[in-house]
Amino acid sequence: MSSGISTWVFAEELEGKPSDGTLELISKARTFGDVSVFYVGAGSDEAWNALGGHGATAVHHLDPGDTLPSGPAAHALAALVTDADVVLFGAGNTDRDVAGRVAAKLGRPVVSNALDVTVDGGIAVHSEILGGTLGITTAITAEKPALVVTRPKAFTAEPTGGSTPPIEVVGLPDAGRANAASVIERHVEASDGPSLEEASVIVSGGRGLGAADKFEMIHELARLLGGAAGSTRAVVDAGWVPYSYQVGQTGKTVKPSVYIACGISGAMQHIVGMKGSATIIAINKDPDAPIFALADLGIVGDVHNVVPQLIEALKARS
């Protein structure tokens, strides 16, 4: 059980709440010992309850207002964790910004893409490299704290029913020139239906769809299956769908019951984000597409034929 290891978890508020990723990290960290959370955002009683309810024993709260949080958050966090054993970060953009800055400030390495962390007999990180083809274990030999950036869904969030922890307010520190960066507009690019992280069915579209307006059939199929629509980075970069759709190494990691890949080649950076799906179906006109190597059912065919036919068949059933 508890090995008396003290762990900090970095948390950026997402839509007024701690993210699922934060609750996953706290759930893991409490198996090591005490868990302090460094929370960046407006904060709320609901947020504090969620953190405590997953095992946080203390919360340090920084509200950055309109200052870009990474510089000042790293400055404050670096000062707080000097006696900690482990600091865990999620894979979010701000997580990575703060992890990098804290590391440079403290002169400690960061181990990224962690799928597991062990603390018995020294701190070691398990991760996968080269597109998930090799698993490696890295021992952190530097002085503490060990800084670890984890993959999404590496751990499972499990409530403990714990009470609200004490909240310590952290003032915005002067982090030098980094404080001069500010957020001047915030835009939410919402999609309807369940979120990618929660959906039990995901229908994803890739460049094989050919054009932005063809993405509509991906949405329609997802709706019919009560699922969510996802995508590759290629179509996010092309501006067909927002970044929030992106599945893969630099997007979301998903583990639905069914993942349907439409016009997706199966690049290793995409696969690392969806290979944990229980059942994978792929539709691609190229019989040599790498996605077929991991598909439970592979259809060699044109998405413009197969997907509309599937949609009609599902409509006919309902």
Binding site: L14, L68, S70, A74, N93, R96, D97, A99, G100, R101, A104, K105, G107, P109, V110, S112, E128, I129, L134, G135, I136, T137, T138, A139, T141, V149, R177, A178, A180, A181, S182, V183, I184, E185, H187, E189, A190, L225, R233, V236, D237, Y243, Q249, T250, K275, I281, F292, A293, L294, A295, D296, L297, I299, V300, G301, D302, V306, A313, L314, R317
Partner: protein
């Protein structure tokens, strides 16, 4: 505006990567290519330099080899390159890389640093942020759009739920996603790249100490997921999907 762009030469991603048996580091051949993810950074730097009559300098830490990857970035239009090529930097972690690149940039001077969000071969995804701390500049990360004017830089920063508009005075560092479409080198660009200045430093020249706080203990192949059945579509393949969806009780 004088712009420093981080670029990386990597083994061709189309070829299988190999690790050396002793330290488990990626073996780097003499011919390495420009990491595709850096092309967007070079592109945005060229656009900003063109708009402000500035210069674009490439910074790269890697064995020079044939310089193929560096020439590819010079051929896009960058003015010159600064390389740190040093046998003792083999296997350097992200923090050492950041220290080395930051030291070279400080020596050469810059208004804006541009980097990719992560490399294709190592993808630790924290090196630019480490540089920003060492250089004491704001880090405007994950930019899908960049504008610079009057001593400031403004980006659209990708967030989990959309994007934010973020601005900062220069000097600053930005990391760019692949959303910015890179230009193709012209024939003239390729010819000119051959004679553009390339300066090389060692870690000692830059006064950077090399230390490592991590060691790879073990490496094991990850079991590949087994493939299933493949159906050639003859107009009825959708039925196989319906059947499977029924089987797994999604419908």
């Amino acid at each position: 505006m004088n712009i420093a762009v981080c670029v990386k030469q990597i083994p061709d991603p189309a070829t299988p990567y190999q690790l050396d048996g002793e330290n488990h580091w990626v073996i780097r051949p003499n011919d390495q290519v420009l990491d595709d993810t850096d092309r967007s950074g070079v592109e945005i730097a060229l656009q900003l330099a063109e708009a402000t009559e500035g210069t674009v300098t490439l910074f790269s830490m890697s064995p020079s080899g044939s310089l193929q990857g560096i020439r590819q970035a010079l051929a896009m239009g960058a003015d010159k390159a600064v390389l740190i090529d040093d046998e003792t930097l083999k296997g350097a972690d992200a923090l050492t890389t950041a220290r080395v690149l930051a030291a070279a940039m400080t020596r050469e001077g810059f208004d804006l640093v541009v980097a990719g969000t992560e490399s294709t071969d190592g993808y630790s995804g924290v090196m630019p942020q480490m540089m920003s701390e060492i250089l004491d500049v704001p880090c405007l990360s994950f930019a899908r759009k960049v504008e610079a004017g009057d001593g400031s830089v403004t980006i659209e920063r990708q967030t989990a739920s959309g994007y934010n508009v973020v601005t900062a005075p220069v000097p600053a560092l930005i990391t760019v996603t692949a959303g910015i479409e890179p230009r193709y080198p012209t024939f003239k660009g390729i010819m000119q790249a051959k004679s553009k200045p390339v300066t090389t430093f060692t870690a000692a020249d830059l006064g950077v100490d090399i230390e490592s706080g991590q060691t790879i203990q073990s490496v094991n192949p990850v079991a590949a997921r087994a493939g299933g059945s493949i159906v050639e579509d003859d107009g009825s393949a959708f039925e196989a999907i319906v059947e499977l969806l029924e089987q797994v009780k999604v419908i």
